[in-house]
């Protein structure tokens, strides 16, 4: 029962944490660029404003995809805290992203469609790495259930250092940070027209933003999974990854889809595989 309370608590708290992280992201990014930046709570103001607007859609399916995106994201977080099968968790996450992609594809707008197709490419690029990461957890703990990771004594980072590095690239993609912000970028970084989420407006966009809060909290939380035994080390890891992603975001420009794909399937996948092979030998 304790686990269930924790999971429900996480589902309730995650959007606030995710929102705060994004607010902090905006402040920090602004400082890096020599601006003052918005208030810390800006993401919350944005979302509240979006939710209060009238519902404008291009077609009626969009509502379905926006809500499905959020619902699956929430479900994934719930499953994570319930210690469920990690591989299935990835598929639920994929479902969530795919809903958003379909939302982008369902509209006859070239921008939205190109963004959506890029998003699928990104999914294809990072999915193997996430699966290999889960396989790594299985090789270490002998079980796919996250419960086994929670109960393990030895921090995962010690057994999966290269997988951790590979995972960082996934975090960059999921945070929509340069050079991987191909489908849509979050801060009007370098876009003239938004991509994937271009044709969403009002409450639907608000729902997608909430889902993104969950996403940010979820993927940053997974970083913590690499060192569960000590809260402070986990916190430092998460903070480090966060700052690193911002730094890279401000250092890089957006690169092409093909470049991203090549990079992910050579460098990142190579790192992940090396780690997996290393785990086999032990």
């Amino acid at each position: 029962m304790n686990k269930l309370t924790l999971a429900i608590g996480a589902v309730v708290l995650a959007p606030f944490i995710g929102g705060l992280i994004q607010g902090f992201d905006r402040v920090l990014t602004a400082r890096m660029q020599g601006r003052k930046g918005p208030p810390l709570l800006q993401p919350f103001y944005d979302i509240l404003k979006l939710l209060r607007k009238e519902r404008v859609v291009v077609n009626s399916q969009q509502i379905l995809y926006a809500y499905m995106h959020l619902a699956m994201m929430v479900l994934a977080l719930f499953m994570l805290f319930m210690g469920q099968d990690a591989l299935m968790l990835l598929f639920i996450l994929a479902f969530s992203t795919l809903s958003l992609v379909l939302g982008g594809m369902s509209v006859r707008s070239p921008y939205s469609r190109i963004g959506a197709q890029r998003e699928i490419m990104m999914m294809v690029a990072y999915e193997p790495i996430l699966i290999l990461m889960v396989i790594g957890m299985y090789l270490v703990n002998g079980n796919f259930r996250l419960q086994a990771v929670f109960e393990a004594e030895r921090p995962l980072l010690l057994s999966m250092p290269l997988l951790f590095l590979a995972y960082l690239t996934v975090v960059m993609i999921k945070f929509q940070k340069s050079p991987f912000d191909l489908a849509t970028s979050h801060h009007a970084h370098q876009e003239i027209v938004k991509g994937l989420t271009l044709e969403f407006a009002g409450p639907c966009l608000g729902v997608i933003e909430i889902a993104h809060c969950y996403e940010v909290a979820f993927f940053l939380g997974l970083v913590g999974l690499f060192w569960l035994s000590n809260f402070w080390i986990a916190a430092v890891l998460m903070g480090g990854v966060f700052v690193l992603s911002l730094l890279l975001d401000n250092l890089c420009a957006r690169l092409t889809t093909i470049w991203m794909f090549r990079f992910m399937w050579s460098v990142a996948l190579g790192l992940a595989l090396t780690n997996i092979v290393w785990l086999y030998w032990h």
Binding site: S60, M105, P110
Partner: protein, 638 residues
């Protein structure tokens, strides 16, 4: 296993002979009306007999005296037909292989004198699953064929064979497949095997265009090669002291016959390098492709492989089989990305999923085996649905190109919605295909190369499904949709299949726990990794409880909510880099430079230079051949 009651005997006869006889009558029928009635009777009979047989539970049936000679006769007939086709149509490789087969038959009979064993039929859990798939999904496809062929007749090329003949081979196919999965005699297996090969030859070549002829010939060459390999395997098994039954072959330690039969299963289930026949098969009318790809033909190969799996589990053959299947899965999933022809995408996806089944059979843990079963069942339903949808769309819009399918949501909302459900069922939870893929990946943890191939393949699968699904659901806002007019049989078949897909998705947990997982645990208890696998299976079992139900409830809830939220009038046109021209449905036209109207158009990503069919096949086929050769190396033959 109890021996068969008289009713069961008659049910088996009805399942095998019923469709063939009624098909023959349909061929002879003078009017279209009589023919349709006969075809519907055949399908209803098959479906009912299949269900009745499944309900009654397992049995073993020793056919009466004299049937052995019937087998000899049928064997001779099959060889004669192969020789005849090879000679008449000048397909010399087939003729040559026919002669080899004839020699084999003669040699066998000289070797052991006149005695011929009577066939045995066995209904166990595995054949029950197959009988249900064949007799239900197969029958639905045949019913769809009635409406489809009515339209097809009118714009088919003048060379086309008669529709009556078409239905004879179509329903006959079901009977032969039922025989194939029910028999335990290797000899009868070979007869049914050859029978399905011939049926598929006639069906693929139905339109008799040069392309159809060419592709039918290719299918025949490859499958007769498989049949020959099977024939040698059977002969060798008997030579080494087997009693001519499949169960005996599984238990025996002789590996060479096993390898030969496995090779045959690879040809039938179109594994690389034998995939070309299945790709060519799409020239045939849609019901044929649907039948070949989902419930019959290719499933014969996977069925036999799953049947034999306990025979090679733990041997060094198994690793090669797993590798071969995983290789096919990854490579064909990659090629599917570059295809814009809808039927070709479906074909590559079929080959990929069959590869996954083969890989699971090779991995051989109880978990992998249940993954294979899950995929076998769910793939049959979903793929049948998708093929029928593409056939319907093709008849209406006159193209099978995915890029032409933009906006069909408006033209044919009914079919499109069903197709979308079918595609979703191929890749998302809680549907069985994803569960199967999930279990396959989870059970490959101990085989790194297989694992990598499965992981890559599964990521690529998402790509081609998502981009196609995105294409067909594209639509602007419309107040109401007019449902398209379809013949009753087509509409009925599509509705029935989509209901099966949805019900199957909702009951994944029940089906898995009650039918598939117990079967897998019993069959593969001999796997050296069985203990390891049971830990993982426990995790799967737990997932099949509340988490799966939660997913189903959440998905259903969101769909309902969106349906309720549909009534809203605040719609806008999409942004198109300029002012939209106000013109009804054509919302994708905008005013560009000099006030000229420009149509916004985006084609899909295909990445042809990377995933191109020719480029990949060029190197992947030789690699696949090498992997297959390793099978022979592993048993010390080379």
């Amino acid at each position: 296993m109890p021996s068969a009651a008289p009713t069961q005997l008659w049910l088996v006869v009805a399942l095998i002979c019923g469709p063939i006889i009624f098909g023959l009558l349909a061929w002879l029928a003078q009017s279209e009306r009589t023919r349709n009635i006969l075809v519907i009777t055949a399908t209803c009979l098959t479906a009912l007999a299949g269900v009745a047989l499944a309900v009654q539970g397992p049995f073993m049936l020793q056919a009466g005296p004299g049937t052995g000679h019937l087998g000899d006769l049928l064997e001779a007939v099959m060889v004669a037909v192969v020789l005849g086709i090879g000679y008449k149509q000048k397909i010399w490789p087939v003729f040559a292989m026919g002669i080899v087969q004839a020699g084999l038959v003669v040699f066998e009979h000289l070797g052991k004198g006149a005695e011929s064993a009577n066939p045995t039929f066995i209904l166990d859990s595995l054949s029950t699953i197959l009988v249900l798939i064949i007799s239900i999904v197969g029958s639905v496809i045949v019913v769809y064929g009635i409406g489809y062929m009515h339209v097809h007749e009118h714009h088919a090329p003048p060379t086309t064979a008669s529709t009556g003949r078409f239905f004879f081979f179509l329903t006959g196919f079901l009977g032969l497949m039922n025989g194939l999965v029910l028999t335990d005699s290797l000899k009868w297996l070979a007869i049914f095997w050859e029978g399905t090969t011939l049926c598929s030859f006639f069906l693929i070549g139905h339109d008799r265009t040069p392309e159809a002829r060419r592709n039918a010939a290719r299918a025949l060459i490859i499958n007769v090669f498989g049949g020959m390999s099977l024939g040698f395997g059977v002969a060798l098994a008997q030579h080494e002291g087997g009693n001519g039954s499949i169960s005996n072959m599984v238990q025996s330690a002789a590996l060479l016959p096993l390898v030969l039969v496995v090779l045959a299963t690879f040809t039938k289930s179109a594994q690389m390098p034998f995939q070309s026949w299945l790709l060519g098969a799409m020239v045939a009318p849609t019901p044929v492709s649907a039948l070949l790809h989902s419930s019959t033909m290719v499933k014969a190969g996977s069925y036999l492989l799953l049947r034999l799996a306990p025979g090679f589990v733990g041997t060094n053959l198994a690793t090669v089989i797993a590798l071969s299947g995983a290789f096919t899965f990854a490579v064909t999933s990659a090629i599917a990305i570059s295809q814009s022809n809808a039927k070709k995408v479906l074909a590559y996806s079929t080959i990929a999923n069959l590869g996954l089944i083969v890989a699971c059979a090779g991995i051989g843990t109880p978990m992998a085996y249940s993954a294979a079963l899950v995929i076998l069942v769910y793939h049959a339903i979903s793929k049948a649905l998708l093929f029928l949808c593409v056939g319907t769309i093709e008849q209406q819009i006159g193209s099978r190109d995915i890029d032409d399918m933009s906006g069909i949501m408006l033209k044919m909302p009914y079919t499109t919605t069903i197709a979308a459900v079918g595609m979703v069922s191929m890749m998302l939870p809680p549907f069985g295909m994803l569960v199967g893929k999930w279990m396959a990946i989870a059970s490959s943890g101990h085989a790194p190369i297989v694992l990598l191939l499965l992981v890559i393949g599964s990521a690529l699968t998402i790509f081609f499904w998502a981009k196609w699904l995105g294409r067909i659901i594209t639509t602007a806002y419309h107040d109401h949709y007019t449902v398209e007019n379809l013949p009753f049989s087509m509409k009925g078949a599509l509705s029935l299949l989509v209901l099966m897909v949805i019900a199957g998705g909702a009951m994944t947990g029940v089906i898995y726990r009650n039918y598939l997982s117990p079967l897998a645990k019993v069959t593969m208890s001999g796997s050296p990794l069985a203990n390891d696998s049971s830990v993982l299976l426990k995790s799967v079992d737990e997932f099949m409880g509340w988490p799966l139900i939660t997913i189903i409830v959440v998905v259903a809830g969101v769909v309902l909510m969106a349906l309720l939220g549909l009534r809203n009038s605040h719609t806008r046109l999409p942004f198109l880099c300029g002012e939209n021209t106000p013109s009804g449905t054509r919302t994708f036209v905008f005013r560009s430079l000099m006030d000229q109207p420009v149509t916004a158009h985006v084609s899909s990503f295909y990445f042809a230079p990377w995933f191109g069919e020719i480029g990949i096949t060029k190197w992947a086929n030789p690699v696949a051949v090498l992997i297959l050769l390793t099978l022979f190396v592993r048993i010390g033959l080379i």
